[in-house]
Symmetry: C2
Subunit: 232 residues, 2 copies
């Protein structure tokens, strides 16, 4: 489906283009340039499709690319990606806050709406919510000007036994994973104590109120937490 949209700052990009920019943004956030195959995996496309698109986008000045070397966003590309990310996160916040969506189920809906909303609608939703800084997954919402701070956080498996911590954000979009996490009583803001951990990448046991939960290593890595400092 070809769906262009309106925006004052970002030129009129197609849904596909916006999805590529988001994907490249999220990959390059990890430090290294985005490879064709990583992008393909993330967007569930074939590598040749990505190769072709990446060439077009670099011609449009949205990204820096030389064959066989991976891609990075230009300033313009990054601004566009952050605009889409802002739309996505505002939409998620609004749907949870005002329309009764659960925080683990909003992603799909936002994924489609982010390409169709106007900047005006986004700003009205943001205003209605009091300009939130974090979305329901705990991810920071970029400002309208494309500024975003990523608060530092510690993945659960790196927190020492005995520590108290708060879940800050959940780094997954997988509905099943999110549903499971929600079902054990965890959501951004939840406070817990690390009770035990098995060695060799084994599971971590946490206490939530008066119940204890065991969280595997893989899942634990998605749980980005803020450790409550021990000393003053």
């Amino acid at each position: 489906m070809l769906t262009p949209m309106t925006s004052l700052f970002t030129d009129d990009l197609t849904t596909s283009v916006e999805d590529y920019l988001k994907a490249i943004y999220s990959i390059t956030r990890q430090g290294h340039p985005a490879s064709t195959s990583e992008i393909a995996r993330l967007l569930d496309l074939s590598p040749p499709s990505v190769s072709g698109m990446v060439k077009r986008l670099s011609q449009q000045g949205l990204l820096e690319y030389q064959p066989y070397k991976g891609v990075e966003l230009t300033a313009r590309g990054r601004r566009a990606a952050l605009t889409v990310l802002r739309r996505h996160r505002i939409i998620e916040s609004y749907l949870v806050e005002r329309l009764g969506y659960s925080w683990d189920s909003v992603h799909q809906e936002a994924e489609r709406l982010e390409h169709a909303v106007s900047d005006m609608l986004i700003e009205r939703m943001a205003g209605a919510l009091g300009n939130p800084e974090f979305d329901p997954h705990g991810d920071p919402i970029p400002a309208p000007d494309g500024t975003m701070v990523q608060p530092s956080s510690t993945p659960l498996p790196d927190i020492d036994v005995g520590q108290e911590a708060a879940l800050r954000r959940v780094s997954s979009h997988d509905a099943e994973q999110l549903k499971f996490i929600a079902s054990v009583g965890l959501k951004p803001g939840t406070i817990f104590t690390v009770v035990a951990r098995q060695p060799f990448h084994g599971p971590t046991t946490i206490r939530l109120g008066d119940t204890e939960r065991v969280i595997g290593h893989e899942l634990g890595f998605l749980l980005q937490c803020e450790v409550h400092s021990e000393e003053q």
Copy 2:
């Protein structure tokens, strides 16, 4: 997946297809089949484009078409069109009611969102508003099952001088026209009295509270009203 985003009855149509169906629905509502050129004019496309699309859609069983004779919707096509219309009108209602849009400016936004929202979101918006029956322009909102009643109404130029009436709906999507209508103090629900009318398709004068307004014939025809009966 057990519950996809799209309803069980409507298959997943592209934005263009949904726009064609809406256009054809609105033209054929007037009684006659929709001609290629009417559709082209309404959607701002060239007649050849419409010809091609219309052939594809009739192959898909969404409309009845024989060359040079115009098109009509099949039952399936009509159901799809009404689904989109419901989405559009619920979205307009929600934006006006909950996000501060003015009734004369929501159309564009709804026009893009109607192709991106899930049925779940529509039903949540409808629920939040208490399942409204009319949108901000006074148009009836089709029920989820595709039922819609079109209350009868009289265009302003057909109302006799001396009669009192209420504006029911405004049959235009043109932003300038709507802005003008809103600016003279008219919106769905407004009650007024017909004070005078010039002959030969001349303007009608109405009284709104204690001010009088003159409305041209062309514009008047967009104002669908409910005449307050004279006798018991």
